[in-house]
Symmetry: C2
């Protein structure tokens, strides 16, 4: 029997076909080949295997739109029922579960209000097991297997070991979250920082594809960040890199949720803005330590309408952001900084003082050609990113199991 020297390149090409179909949707074999630099014959052979493994399907030729001469091309597409993945997003007082199909499309989404700060590690594991099991029952009625789970959590995580190091949504620290779930559900359980999930989605968008050094700053209840280098999140030695929110603005300054003073987050996060504002402004009642979207909208509205106190508070937040940005630019020299997250609602009120502070802090040679732009927060991309990450991480396993 002949040896098979090309097994690993065959495997790589098969993954490329799957990912190309996931990214671009149904396509003809010849177009998939062109797009990925694979010969037509190889794509044909790979797709025969994938059809047999029931990982792709053939779509009937669209005779209404003939593409030039000859008969219409048969398109292939991922079999959406081949597998599903689940992304669980944990943020302060909220749990969201989303099911994605094998093509990366969202098939189900549910939200639960949970008093996250009162949970013990055991409570959280039990809660996650219960909610995932319930979602699984429905999901497995429509999909042939659960390929993987991604936990997307605000805070510091060690992706390698699946350990939560520290999250503003939880009152405990250093808890292994992935291992018990992986055992319970018999599939890989990835643990990711929420900003990395979002950045993974943004980095693939055509508008941002030309920026190999991309920084995404997430404004909101806390302040998160993701540093993408050549499309891969930079996580540092044990997963806690890119903690922009806890880099420093003012030694000995405002108190941060982390317990230390003078962090950027202690000036520019939702809770910091609301803490300053509730002293001097007439704002909606409610938990002012964990302001709701409605409370934050009311505060932002005041600044937009010209209230001088509200404007002063956002300007000081912008100044802290500008000094933090100076450190980012001096240390990472990114091509592009994208500012997003729910807190981007107040960006217009912070932008001018942010730019002034940045120019005050850093020589123009170090600001260089870095672009700083905001990105509207019209939908939460965390779970979309978590689904993409879970599929990407489990494709090989699905292939070898099929």
């Amino acid at each position: 029997m002949a040896s098979q020297p090309h097994d690993s390149s065959r495997h790589d090409n098969t993954l490329a076909v799957i990912r190309s179909l996931r990214e671009h949707g149904p396509a003809a074999r010849v177009d998939i080949g062109t797009r990925n630099g694979i010969s037509s014959a190889t794509v044909t052979s790979i797709s025969a295997d994938l059809l047999q493994q029931e990982l792709i399907t053939e779509l009937p030729p669209d005779v209404s739109r003939p593409s030039g001469r000859g008969r219409p091309k048969t398109l292939i597409h991922l079999d959406t029922e081949a597998a599903c993945v689940i992304c669980v997003k944990l943020s302060i007082n909220e749990l969201q579960l989303v099911v994605g199909d094998f093509a990366g499309q969202v098939r189900h989404s549910e939200h639960h209000s949970v008093a996250t700060l009162t949970l013990t590690p055991g409570d959280l594991t039990a809660l996650l097991e219960e909610k995932i099991a319930a979602v699984c029952t429905t999901a497995l009625a429509n999909h042939r297997r659960l390929a993987g789970i991604c936990l997307a959590i605000q805070g510091v995580v060690s992706s390698h070991s699946g350990t939560l190091i520290w999250s503003p949504a939880l009152s405990f620290r250093n808890a292994p979250l992935s291992p018990p779930l992986a055992e319970r559900f018999g599939c890989p359980v990835l643990l990711e920082n929420d900003a990395n999930c979002i950045a993974s989605v943004l980095a693939t968008q055509p508008a941002y594809a030309g920026y190999p050094n991309l920084v995404v700053i997430m404004l909101g209840y806390g302040i998160g960040m993701s540093v993408m280098i050549d499309g891969v999140p930079f996580v540092g030695a044990n997963g806690s890199a890119a903690e922009f929110g806890h880099s420093k603005y003012q030694p000995g300054g405002a108190l941060c949720a982390c317990g230390k003073r003078g962090c950027i987050e202690a000036y520019a996060s939702d809770y910091a803005l609301y803490r300053e504002a509730r002293e001097v402004l007439d704002l909606p009642a409610g938990d002012s330590a964990h302001p709701s979207e409605q409370q934050m909208q009311a505060l932002t509205q005041l600044a937009m309408q010209g209230d001088p106190e509200a404007q002063r508070i956002f300007a000081e937040a912008g100044r802290a952001l500008g000094y933090g940005m100076a450190n980012l630019l001096a240390l990472f020299n990114p091509d592009l900084v994208l500012i997003t997250g729910s807190g981007v609602r107040g960006y217009a009120a912070m932008q001018e003082s942010m730019q002034t502070a940045l120019d005050e802090a850093l020589v123009s040679e170090l600001i260089g050609p870095t672009r700083i732009v905001s990105c509207p927060w019209d939908r939460d991309m965390t779970c979309l990113g978590g689904i993409a990450i879970a599929l990407q991480a489990t494709d090989s396993q699905i292939l070898s199991a099929s």
Copy 2:
């Protein structure tokens, strides 16, 4: 004729043999094979080519040290005369030129006092051409070719384009330095930040080899930094990343050489320490804006002997370093931070306040397991690093030209 499908792996293996000999010195073919995972037959075939190209030589077997049974093994070694490279180090008021041979050993070194701050771009290029040409004449008497030149400069450089962006040693900015020299000497001219040269040497030392996320901080006239990720310097979008010295400690604080206020360098560099000290202490006369090693030694001595003013000044510098370190750890989460450079002479007087400031600034979860250690500055490794970088960058060219 048979096609040669393994050309690129042959080339890679040849480079591996050359680099193994450079790193470990003379070795037997079988040991080179074992060390690099290459078959003995391949090493034998590669070394036959390299002998013919006069890039290696055979050493006579050392019969006085028989290695077990059988006849002593013949060792091969790089032919030191095959090529040379030149590293030019430019720092404030000093130009150093070093010639390295094909084995990476220093063969010649010379220093020149130059009033660097008075130079125009044209002056500098003319000076570099003159000094390099003079060194070349001697070097080419002992080496068959000049393979490349590395300019190692304190400050911000764009390695891609060979452009100096900004250096504390020069009063002009944004000047293309490599292109005219490459044309004049007909070889590649690399432009590197001095800290990256040093870090490239340190990263290969066995003591630091197990730290894939390594940060090197250079204390001295200015404050430099190199971030090595998996052995490669992280330079950012246009080469100006890792500018730790100009990350911020105190908004609106002490004046920095860059013209801005509150940079770490404005507190913890030689000039900043001396500026504070000369107001209150009896110190050697001289250019206090550019203190000499002797002046800095005198100041450091005072702190070591317990002078409270000198101790206060170093403690404040340590505090600034500690806050800068907090940002580094929050953003890069390195395995190891090495503090070195000539300014490490005063580290003992800064260390305690640096650690206190770091603990004050950052939660323990973000300090994590990062080790922070000082590394004695008993010799300047800049030129050694420049030589290694120039050889590494030109090996392929030497191979194809031989």
